[in-house]
């Protein structure tokens, strides 16, 4: 059982790392601010979400797991709000490409 959980952790954390790389590549390669915002939200939501999902079997106790999920939920909520604000700011400061 512990082996299965370890495999699950490896797969999920590696997938999360992949999404962070994808976010970085998108941030560097995409042509305008709104496209870059799109790449960033994937890293924010999926990258961090998969890392947290992968770490859940590694912590003992419901309290520690709850803390991990709380961090993820805060990052989700904050990320969504902040990207909305940044998109509005980018839209105001320049014409859309």
């Amino acid at each position: 059982m512990s082996f299965v959980l370890d495999v699950f952790t490896v797969v999920a954390v590696a997938a999360g790392a992949f999404f962070f790389v994808a976010g970085t590549v998108g941030l560097l390669r995409f042509p305008d601010s709104l496209c870059r915002l799109h790449a960033l939200t994937k890293a924010d939501n999926l990258g961090l979400g998969l890392v947290v999902l992968g770490l859940l079997p590694q912590v003992e106790g419901a309290l520690a797991a709850g803390r991990l999920i709380a961090v993820w939920l805060l990052a989700q909520l904050a990320g969504t709000t902040v990207t909305q604000l940044l998109a509005r700011s980018a839209r105001r400061s320049g014409p859309l490409a």
Binding site: G16, D44, G47, L86, S93
Partner: protein, 84 residues
């Protein structure tokens, strides 16, 4: 398992650090803030991985604080850029 988690933490940190090139290139201030936002989220992921790898659960609180602070940084950016 701890070695794998630490390796992943280093990998994510390196990937996010490469993203900071966007801070140099710009062109808009919002683009620079996007790179900082990615660094914030990546930093949270790295800290969570380090917490699980080393077993020091207090690092989770550091991750929580970093998530909060990076949010405030972006909110402050939007507030000041709207004011000018």
């Amino acid at each position: 398992m701890a070695e794998f988690l630490l390796a992943c933490a280093g990998f994510i940190l390196a990937a996010v650090a490469v993203g900071l090139v966007r801070v140099l290139r710009g062109p808009a201030d919002a683009d620079r803030m996007l790179a900082a936002q990615l660094l914030g989220t990546g930093g949270v992921a790295v800290l969570l991985l380090v917490a699980a790898a080393t077993g020091v659960s207090a690092v989770v609180d550091v991750a929580l604080t970093l998530a909060l602070v990076s949010t405030f940084a972006s909110a402050a950016f939007v507030a000041t850029s709207d004011g000018e």
